[in-house]
């Protein structure tokens, strides 16, 4: 990294852009909410599969399509579609969040600059 970064305990500056504790905290909280919500869904679904395999006979023993049981179908095919949909929607939402947070950060920045100029 050759960009000059001005750093203090209160802000980080790259070129015209500043991160303050306040903006970063906003970013962090929003990002944490998004990641952990998706994380809960991911672990919920992933651990539900072995749970069903252990405790629900219809899940692992009843054929639904040729030799496919619901269990085999999910582990060999549907789980991957689940991962793709999750990764895609998460990436899109995280990009959108980045975008929104940049605007918030910029707004706070320009407010701080305006305040400094007065």
């Amino acid at each position: 990294m050759s960009e000059k970064a001005a750093v203090s305990g209160k802000f980080v500056q790259f070129g015209d852009h500043i991160d303050t504790l306040e903006t970063v905290d906003t970013v962090f909280r929003a990002q944490r909410k998004l990641s952990f919500t998706y994380g809960a869904v991911f672990f919920g679904v992933t651990l539900a599969i072995p749970a069903l395999s252990v405790w629900v006979p219809a899940w692992y023993s009843t054929p639904i399509w040729g030799g496919f049981t619901a269990n085999y179908f999910v582990v060999s095919l549907a789980y991957f579609v689940f991962l793709w949909v999750m990764a895609w929607t998460y990436s899109k939402q995280a990009d959108k969040l980045d975008e929104e947070l940049m605007h918030i950060a910029e707004a706070i920045e320009s407010k701080a600059k305006a305040g400094g100029a007065q």
């Binding site: 504790l21 582990v75 991957f80």
Partner: protein, 626 residues
């Protein structure tokens, strides 16, 4: 010897070396050597990550596990893919924003002491070596199936240095090639090679499945056929064990084998028993038991062949959490140009490896019927061993199936795919291990003022050293007889590497990124608990399998802990808890925590880069990075 296969593998080797020489002119700085100048686009980076990730265990091992175990084998595919969700959700963009070279850099940057950097380096090396071992073992066994000849002289006992000389030739060839091409090309050469190698191995798996469907494979019908009746599997066993009566059931394995083996092959087993050598080994076919639902018949399409209730959960967690603990995968995230690109890369990785992992179980299932049919027709490949049409070593499934479905050419493509899988993974591991020593230790502590040329030289020397160490591991596995203790050794050893990574790194990374209150003492304690705990339990399990009396199952607590095949369910929460408790007791967060926090979660850097157009991907060959 299969001429087409050998020509294709030699072609792959020449291409690999050529690409490394070509990329050499672009490896001028350490950022180039370790990070490909941070200029790898999402698609290329995703292909390279996939190449890094899909190893011999995935290429040969997943289809083999499905062939041998049915649904429990399919879990490998789902779990290996699921791991990337943890990476994309919790780690990818934060790691990239932090903007360093390695995981050890992250630990140092976040917690601020040399002590934690060095602990991380040790953990990186151990995880990398754990992952390297099955790759080298895979190299030797694949060489043996494919080439079937070697260059080391066999002693009177048929061995060289205590192991099979043909196997050791394969290990040696792969170690030498890796040493040469990684040291030559650095991360750029390795990245280019990994992109090519990934698509080659994907194509090989795709072709096997296309040929299977062309051969009349019908997924639901085939699955129904495979699930009709008790699952049977082969086993290599000594005469002593074959005839040993289990006090619980009152039956010996030979009684069970009699029920499922063809009369003529069972007659040969009886002859071997009559010969009276208790140490002699025979290959038998056995009906399998359901470990999960003990009263149910074990069939191909149901869970329970490999895992009991505890292991069903533990295995999934090991795979899902372990991916985020593999240093050679994490290092890849630093080669993305931005946090958003890191997420996009991961999405593509999931598409690439997801399609691969959908195909692998199809190959495994197709093998179940096609190999048996070929054996009955007398057209099964003669270089593999069978019992009544079932492969004795399931790791030979992919080459055997390819030969049956598409003859010498398809077998050649599969062989090249298998070596591509090994090269790309070992390449990533060597770069990760070399950067741990060269970048994290040498550049930081031994000679911080070293010239750029000297730093790259140290990186290359480290690559050579670790390739030699890989060779030693490849030799040691059969020397100590590990392959006899674990039937599906490649997949098993990879799962160990995942377990160690998941226990040592993931708690530190998760808390370091998401909990401001994590202290250096907490992080170190957690890493040590995860690292020592997981490695300790794995070795206890190995000692139990190798029948060391002190670790036997009836030895109370030691026996119980030794029986844990996957330690993650214990060691991951334990490490996480340790970090929490020690951090709370310590309370000594880094003095510059706000600044660190802004680095991990702040966006000013990315906004600035966007202004300058630096978030766009440039050419990997645009010269040294800015």
């Amino acid at each position: 010897m299969n001429t087409i296969a050998i020509v294709l593998v030699i072609g792959l080797v020449l291409f690999t070396v050529g690409l490394s020489i070509f990329s050499r002119r672009f490896t001028r700085t350490t950022a180039d050597f370790y990070l490909a100048g941070r200029k790898v686009g999402s698609f290329s980076n995703a292909s390279a990550i996939s190449g890094d990730y899909l190893s011999a265990a995935s290429f040969l091992g997943v289809a083999a596990a499905v062939y041998a175990s049915g649904l429990d084998g399919v879990w490998y595919a789902a779990g290996f893919a699921g791991g990337f969700m943890v990476v994309v959700l919790f780690i990818a963009s934060a790691l990239r924003r932090f903007g360093e070279y390695t995981v050890a850099d992250f630990a140092y940057g976040r917690f601020g002491t040399s002590r934690i950097r060095l602990v991380t380096v040790v953990a990186v090396l151990l995880v990398s070596l754990f992952y390297m071992a099955p790759q080298m073992y895979g190299a030797g066994t694949t060489w043996k199936i494919l080439v079937g000849t070697g260059f080391f002289p066999a002693g009177a006992d048929g061995l060289f240095l205590g192991v099979d000389p043909i196997y050791l030739s394969g290990v040696t060839v792969v170690a030498l090639i890796m040493m040469f091409y990684v040291a030559m090309g650095g991360m750029k050469g390795t990245t280019l090679n990994q992109i090519f190698q990934f698509w080659l191995l994907w194509f090989a798996m795709f072709m096997v499945v296309v040929f299977a469907f062309g051969n009349g494979f019908n997924y639901p019908a085939e699955l129904a056929k495979a699930s009709d009746g008790t699952l049977v599997a082969t086993k290599t066993i000594t005469i002593a064990d074959l005839t040993k009566v289990d006090p619980k059931s009152g039956k010996a394995p030979i009684d069970s084998a009699k029920g499922v083996m063809a009369p003529e092959s069972f007659a040969k087993i009886e002859e071997a028993v009559a010969a009276g050598d208790p140490a002699a080994k025979v290959d038998i076919l056995l009906p399998q038991k359901n470990k999960l639902h003990e009263t149910r018949t074990m069939i191909f399409g149901e869970p329970g062949h490999r895992y009991n209730t505890f292991d069903q959960f533990s295995m999934v967690l090991a795979l899902v959490l372990g991916t985020a603990g593999l240093p050679h995968i994490l290092n890849r995230y630093y080669t993305n140009p931005s946090g958003a690109a890191a997420r996009r890369s991961t999405f593509w990785v999931l598409i690439f490896i997801g399609t691969f992992y959908i195909l692998s179980p199809i190959a495994g299932l197709a093998g179940r019927s096609r190999i048996l049919e070929a054996w009955l027709n007398g057209t099964a490949p003669t270089n593999a061993a069978y019992v009544d049409g079932f492969l004795v070593k399931s790791d030979a499934l992919m080459p055997a199936l390819a030969q049956i479905l598409g003859g010498q050419w398809l077998m050649g493509i599969v062989a090249a795919g298998a070596f591509a899988a090994m090269f790309s993974t070992v390449g990533g591991l060597l770069i990760a291990a070399a950067s741990a020593v060269g970048h994290d230790v040498y550049e930081k502590y031994i000679d911080p003022n070293a010239s750029e040329a000297k730093r790259v030289f140290v990186g290359k020397t480290s690559v050579i050293f670790f390739a030699l160490l890989g060779w030693v591991l490849g030799w040691a596995i059969p020397f100590f007889g590990l392959q006899n203790a674990y039937p599906a050794l490649i997949a098993m050893m990879v799962t160990w590497a995942f377990a160690v990574g998941a226990s040592a790194f993931v708690p530190m990374l998760l808390t370091g990124i998401w909990w401001k209150g994590t202290t250096e003492k907490g992080a170190i304690s957690g890493m040590l608990v995860g690292l020592i705990g997981s490695i300790g339990i794995i070795f206890m399990n190995i000692f139990q399998q190798l029948k060391f009396p002190a670790f036997a199952a009836d030895q109370g607590v030691i026996g119980f802990v030794s029986s844990l095949t996957f330690p993650v369910l214990f060691t991951f929460p334990l490490a996480l808890l340790t970090i929490y408790v020690v951090s709370k007791l310590d309370g000594n967060v880094p003095v510059n925590i706000d600044e660190i926090w802004m680095r991990i979660h702040g966006t000013a850097h990315e906004r600035h880069e966007r202004d300058l157009g630096l978030d766009k991907v440039g050419s990997m060959f645009g010269g040294p990075s800015k």
